[in-house]
């Protein structure tokens, strides 16, 4: 009798050890401290979803309504938490629906780990049902990707994927898992240690280069800082502030660098580039030393390269050496982490030339030529709406956007004073990003106010995700800046295509309020300026999601602007204050 019980116990023990690849997969995610996964089931990931069911909610699983929603939500989550966003999608169409978002994460260096199901190894390459060459498709749009063809590689590959996605210059990593690997049963424990001899990001900058930068700063008469998204990734905002204040340096930022330096600070010149501030663009144009920390000199920032910082010595701090010298010739390259570089610079006490004149002229530009807009008598001007949002949220909300006019107005008029609160699609310029990104942001930081500012065009690309907002009662405030047009397209057609509004006017929009109500979400329409403050109060005092259909002036344009092919000193639509 006794021996039998022992035998039974042994069998039980063995059964406990026996687990599928899918169980191993879940364990590996738990080991990575994953708390939220954005996923969508399907044939090839059924074993994984079954293991997820068995594991009894090892982490929160968010079922978006389209795979594009998954990946943008994961991006939003990563942007505001600094932790990797995790996605699970099935093979074939599940995986290909992620492509836009993976590319978006690649362009904006967001740490995202994507798991895609794949058909069984035996039928890979036979055009099997729901088969797509995910590795082939995602190779150019990922930092790295893996297909797991042997179960014993799975834990190691997952660990490597998280490591690659989150270290160095962050980026998306795809792990493609064939169905039979997820189904395979094993009682073995496999090594989780990975070895990546070809991947050793330089974090600590070369002290010699830091010294060179310091020397350049000592002799510079017209220095200016450019802060990019690298400041956010390195959590270097405090060091940036200290460095800028120590030497009284004017600070410009990129679109994605907004919030890395307090927008309300005296030394802040705001965003530079195509729709940047006059002060920021002129400071870069006239500078004799441009210190770029963590920006990649995107063409929307530089304008025509021959006119970009034409008189400046350029110092470029970047963790990705390939970004240095890619677009702009660089005199002082510094490969390394932004925080490490700034700490290195702060350790040196630089005897700086007197730059009072320069500083004064830069601040003159700032006060004389700020961002401007015209208010009409009753219609809502979109820029003013953003300012109202700023007032109502005390400038402390997490803001997500799509791409286009509303995005630029948000960048110009929602003054960001804190890091990790600006969630926008910068490099790829993806419509439909804002709503799912807000879902990820809200889940990542549940206590924060999250406002998604989107256009009427972009909203319609991912509006199905309203269902997720409702399902999880996420208190997101969705503001549709509704000008019944693809505003930026319309603006370019007006300015550069002689007002031929080809397919840019959205004359048949749905009733957004009814749409929200259809999803079980509170919907509000506002069309008069006078009603805005009341609506704002209503929206932000409401304890739940609200969609606002804000009917704004239709023909507003984003100014100032550097026309394509022009230099940043040739901005159109700069207005000087009368006083």
């Amino acid at each position: 009798m006794k021996t039998q019980t022992q035998n039974e116990m042994k069998i039980e023990e063995q059964e406990q050890k026996l687990r599928t690849g899918a169980d191993l997969f879940i364990e590996s995610l738990v080991e990575q401290n994953v708390d939220t996964v954005f996923g969508y089931p399907g044939g090839a990931v059924l074993p994984i979803y079954d293991a997820l069911h068995r594991a009894e909610a090892p982490f929160q699983h968010i079922l978006c309504r389209h795979e594009q929603g998954l990946i943008h939500a994961a991006e939003g989550y990563a942007r505001v938490t600094g932790k990797p966003g995790v996605v699970i999608a099935t093979s074939g169409p599940g995986a290909t629906n992620l492509v836009t978002g993976i590319t978006d994460a690649m362009m904006d260096s967001l740490p995202v780990v994507v798991f895609t199901g794949q058909v069984s190894t035996a039928v890979i390459g036979t055009d099997a049902f729901q088969e797509a060459d995910v590795i082939g498709i995602t190779t150019p749009i990922t930092k790295h990707n893996y297909q797991v063809t042997d179960l014993k590689e799975l834990p190691k590959v997952i660990n490597a994927a998280f490591h690659i996605a989150t270290t160095g210059r962050p980026g998306p990593v795809v792990v493609d898992i064939p169905k039979n690997i997820a189904q395979e049963i094993s009682d073995e424990s496999f090594s989780r240690d990975f070895h990546l001899p070809g991947y050793q990001p330089t974090v600590k900058p070369n002290p010699l280069q830091i010294r060179r930068l310091a020397e350049a700063l000592a002799t510079a008469k017209r220095p200016v800082l450019l802060a990019g998204a690298g400041i956010h990734f390195a959590d270097a905002d405090k060091e940036l502030l200290e460095f800028a204040e120590k030497y009284n340096l004017p600070v410009t930022t990129t679109l994605l660098g907004l919030g890395s330096f307090p927008g309300g600070h005296e030394q802040a010149l705001g965003m530079a580039g195509m729709h940047g501030s006059y002060a920021a663009n002129m400071a870069i144009y006239e500078a004799d030393l441009l210190i770029n920390i963590g920006a990649r000199f995107d063409d929307r920032l530089t304008g025509a390269l021959q006119h970009f910082a034409p008189n400046a010595k350029v110092a470029h701090v970047d963790i990705d050496p390939a970004e240095i010298g890619k677009n702009v010739e660089t005199n002082i390259p510094v490969v390394g982490d932004a925080k490490e570089a700034l700490q290195g610079l702060l350790k040196i006490d630089i005897e700086k030339e007197d730059c009072t004149e320069w500083y004064k002229s830069v601040l003159d530009n700032k006060s004389s030529s700020p961002f401007w807009f015209e208010r009409s008598d009753d219609l809502i001007s979109p820029q003013w709406l953003i300012e109202e949002l700023h007032r109502e949220t005390s400038g402390e909300a997490i803001i997500t956007t799509d791409v286009g006019q509303h995005q630029m107005w948000a960048a110009q008029f929602y003054q960001f004073n804190e890091p990790h609160k600006w969630v926008t699609s910068g490099g790829l310029g993806t419509m439909g990003f804002g709503v799912p990104a807000a879902i990820g942001a809200q889940l990542g930081r549940p206590g924060e106010t999250v406002v998604s500012i989107v256009g009427d065009g972009g909203f319609q690309m991912t509006m199905q995700e309203l269902a997720v907002i409702k399902q999880h009662q996420l208190p997101i405030k969705l503001i549709i800046v509704n000008n019944e047009a693809l505003g930026m397209v319309r603006q370019w057609q007006e300015d550069f295509y002689e007002e031929r509004y080809s397919s840019s006017l959205m004359t048949e929009n749905p009733d957004f309020v009814k749409l929200a109500e259809g999803f079980g979400i509170k919907g509000v329409r506002v069309a008069n300026e006078a009603d805005v403050p009341g609506v704002m109060k209503e929206v932000f005092s409401y304890d739940g999601p609200v969609l606002v259909d804000a009917r704004v002036q239709k023909l507003d344009k984003v100014f100032p602007m550097v026309a394509p092919g022009k230099g940043n000193h040739e901005m159109l639509g700069v207005r000087r204050c009368s006083e």
């Binding site: 082939g136 930092k143 690659i164 070809g198 991947y199 280069q209 010739e329 490969v335």
Partner: protein, 173 residues
């Protein structure tokens, strides 16, 4: 300008696709690529011949190659003392009348005849690309039926001259 780049890569699946994909995505003009196993198991060596407009382009190319997770080492060896070779197979039209004439032509090139048929012969030649081209030029009048080149594979020589030109491949900053 033409540059010769060598890369040491991990022999993982899709590595060649990864690299050629990156090169085409970034619009680099590749003249040839060779790849093969090396003296170390699991490690392959690649040689690229690229045509670039200026030095900043070649710097960008080596940096982008280095950025690949599977790439262990990249060198621009153009300005070093190197051994660079490629192999070409040339099927040239020949009759009994021209056969010995052709043999006479290829001899100074240390090329070999691998196959003879009634109206053609296959010649193997190894050397620098210009040597292969010179031989192909001389054989042209006989009618080249088919020509295949492997592309250049290259090494740095064991001993380098004292004065070395800047090595763009291993910029360390």
């Amino acid at each position: 300008m033409q540059r010769i780049i060598t890369a040491t890569v991990q022999n993982s699946s899709g590595v060649l696709n990864r690299i050629t994909g990156m090169l085409s995505k970034r619009a680099f003009n590749i003249e040839s690529i060779t790849v093969g196993t090396s003296e170390i198991e699991g490690i392959s060596k690649m040689t690229f011949v690229v045509d670039v407009s200026d030095e900043s382009k070649i710097e960008q190319l080596t940096k982008q190659l280095n950025k690949q997770i599977d790439v262990l080492k990249v060198n621009d060896i153009t300005d070093y003392s190197i051994v660079a070779r490629e192999l070409a197979l040339i099927k040239v039209g020949s009759t009994s009348a021209t056969r010995s004439e052709i043999q006479g032509i290829i001899e100074p090139f240390r090329a070999r005849v691998l196959d003879i048929s009634r109206d053609s012969m296959i010649i193997e030649v190894t050397g620098k690309p210009d040597k292969v081209e010179a031989l192909a030029d001389l054989l042209q009048p006989y009618g080249i039926i088919e020509l295949k080149r492997t592309g250049v594979t290259a090494f740095r020589r064991g001993k380098q001259p004292r004065q070395q030109v800047q090595d763009f491949g291993s910029i360390s900053i």
